[in-house]
Amino acid sequence: MTLFVKYNFDLVCKTLLKEQLDALDISYTLNSLGEIQINGALSPEKLEILTTSLNKYGIEILTKQKVTLEDRIKNAIDDYLKNKEFRTVKLSTYLSDKLHYSYAHLSTIFSENTYTSIENYMILKKVDLAKELICHTDLTLTEIAFRIDYSSVAHLSGQFKKTTGLTPSAFQRIMNNKKL
């Protein structure tokens, strides 16, 4: 017998982090995917146990030096795309308000370190989100377009095709056939 499952990445990661942190009796707040605010200090022993238990799931705790500005920009873009209420302002305004740097500075740092621009990354990320929704939900393209702020299905399909080289329906057909 073969079972097919559908899952929500965001929820999986959050639940997993919650379980692991609760098990160690740590007081925390999950800020966004990729950022955990620990309330109070964390003993080195607990940090080590947490590191090992998260490692099992392929989650790595980054040290301060490793969390670069471009990673923070990426996380902020993820948040921006996932929360409709943030999108009342332009991405450039949102980023400079949140990270306290001018957009020009952010955009220079980003391009220097990631081989792409903030704009292009945002498009790639939006298409990635669309791909996830196509694969793991029953939403129609119209609903998906609405959810990630495309003005129309045509706009979504156009950008999808331009970015991935595939139409949304070709992509969906391939992913469906791959599962079998």
């Binding site: 990426k74 990635d128 791909k131 996830e132 791959k178």
Partner: protein, 148 residues
Amino acid sequence: MSDKTLSIALADDDEDDRMLFSEAIDEIDISTKLSLFNHGQELMDYLTLPNIVLPSLIFLDLNMPIKNGQQCLVEIRNNPKLKDLCIAIYSTSSSEKDIEDTFLNGANIYVNKPNNFSKLREVVEKVLQLNWQYHTSNLNKETFLFRI
């Protein structure tokens, strides 16, 4: 620019194609280390050696003697040690069936071999950039599917 070096492998039986590819990659701003293979079997022999550093991206030609691209692709995807490698198919074929078959067999990117050098440089650069994003960002590898 970042100091990380990307290691890349190319399997292609055509000597001219290999040479052009390596010239194109040299001109790109991303620092890379390229390994070349004459056919699929040579690539597979290399990948299955113990203690090697696996390339982060493999370009595979489809039509090769001894072992073709599709066979390599299937072997790589069925090998637990290799199944997470990023694979770009690099072929002259633009038949929809070939393209869909390679995606079904687990290819991440399908590149049509361009017919001039500046185009080649452009597409190789695009593939490297995409691969870079997938290695450094929270993007879903399961849906890593592009046709360039």
